[in-house]
Amino acid sequence: MHDTSFEATPPTVADRLAAEALIVDVDGFEGPLDLLLALSRSQKVDLRRISVLALAEQYLTFVDQAKALRIELAADYLVMAAWLAFLKSRLLLPPDPSDAGPSAEDMAAHLAFQLERLAAMREAAARLMARARLGQDFFARGAVEGPALIRRVRYSATLLDLMQAYARLRTRDEFRPFAFDRQNIWTMEQALDRMRGMIGFAGEWTDLASFLPEGWGGDSARRRSATAATFAAVLELARQGQCELRQSETFAPLSIRRRQ
């Protein structure tokens, strides 16, 4: 233990222990105000009648002891110490009539108010937490039954939306970068795809022309392309053994049927 050389009467062992207990516990305090509140409890009086002068002395002693024990105190503890030292000197000196600032009594009263308010809030917090609480002492309905939310969605579309959508579709090609347009060409791949799906239905001899894709039977260029592609596709299917092909004479209609 450090044998400190205090000018005052040497403290009793009990006092020393109490002081050390406070200091060792300094981490447990939430700032200087909390510490002051703890110190003020030792005056064992109503907080409203507390002696701020005595409290300031206690606090300064505490800080001195902490220094002696080489305990690092946070800056705000030292700021408070400086302010309390100032307050203490003001309280001890006779008031200076030329001083325009707040009186020492006002400052002391405010500190007492702060301590009282903090103590009151502590007590209020304790009373609040001691109340009967939902989920611990009283309970909500366990089986929630509703309200069942019936959500109805109304889709809205106006005639304008519809027309704009159509216009967008019909004019889409106008905005494409230029490319060789092969829109009247039915490719053999397309025809083969289509025939694969349909050949199963051709149990009887069926005219090849009826297998042309929809919309390709009218315009002659389109019909020609579709016929050629479909014919090529049928040849491919015949080669694979999936269908039979027959033509009664040259230029007669071609008929096909599924291979039994």
């Binding site: 089986a143 309200p147 969605v153 889709y155 519809l162 106008e174 799906g197 929809e214």
Partner: protein
């Protein structure tokens, strides 16, 4: 009440009812009678208290019900309407649905393959289903071509919703352009069926005449 001597007197029946009331209220699921009895102080008569509690709630907005060997509070069946909340949300029709609907309106009767050809992308199942559900389109007659594909046509509800007397009232491309809805010049080959009038005989006029057998 039981005859066995207990350390404390059993609470009065009214108090036992209060206990049951709280336990059944707070429980998430029906509570078995055995469990209710086990949780109550010694000497309680859970069945008697339950019977009393049940009588107390007779005709109220909440009733005490037996569910198998367990008990639960349930809201009175006649008040179910109060527990429903309807919300109506207005949502804009998706672009895919709007386009599909427009194509059906302008080209009806039209097959799925034709819609896909015009849109340039596959038509998702959900899109058509949504339009069917909205009762804006319905199935038309099957096309008499191989595969006999179904066609789609618009409904009377569609006409009502969009304030049209018939699908022929839909403005054509020329009118759309005149109205400033189209800013581009006409494409050389954009003469779709919607442009002037439906080209083929399976056009809209026929379709409206045969509403009755079409669905």
């Amino acid at each position: 009440m039981t005859d066995t001597p207990t350390l404390f007197a059993a609470p009065p029946l009214a108090e036992q009812e209060r206990m049951l009331e709280a336990m059944l209220f707070a429980a998430a699921a029906p509570v078995p009678l055995a469990e209710l009895a086990a949780r109550m102080p010694e000497g309680c008569d859970a069945p008697a208290a339950l019977a009393g509690l049940r009588r107390r709630y007779e005709g109220r907005g909440v009733v005490l019900m037996q569910v198998g060997a367990a008990w639960a509070f349930r809201t009175a069946p006649d008040l179910g309407f109060l527990l429903q909340r309807e919300t109506t949300e207005t949502r804009k029709l998706s672009r895919a649905a709007t386009e599909t609907l427009a194509i059906i309106a302008y080209h009806q009767p039209v097959t799925r393959a034709e819609i896909e050809e015009i849109r340039g992308v596959a038509v998702s199942r959900g899109t058509v289903e949504q339009l069917l559900e909205l009762d804006w389109v319905r199935f038309g007659r099957r096309r008499m071509t191989p595969g006999r594909p179904v066609t789609f046509v618009v409904t009377q509800a569609f006409l009502d919703h969009f304030g049209l007397e018939s699908a022929r009232d839909l403005p054509g491309l020329k009118e759309l352009r005149a109205a400033g809805l189209l800013e581009s010049r006409p494409a050389p080959d954009a003469e779709g069926p919607g442009e002037d009038e439906p080209g083929d005989d399976l056009g809209q006029s026929e379709m409206f005449g045969e509403d009755a057998d079409a669905s």
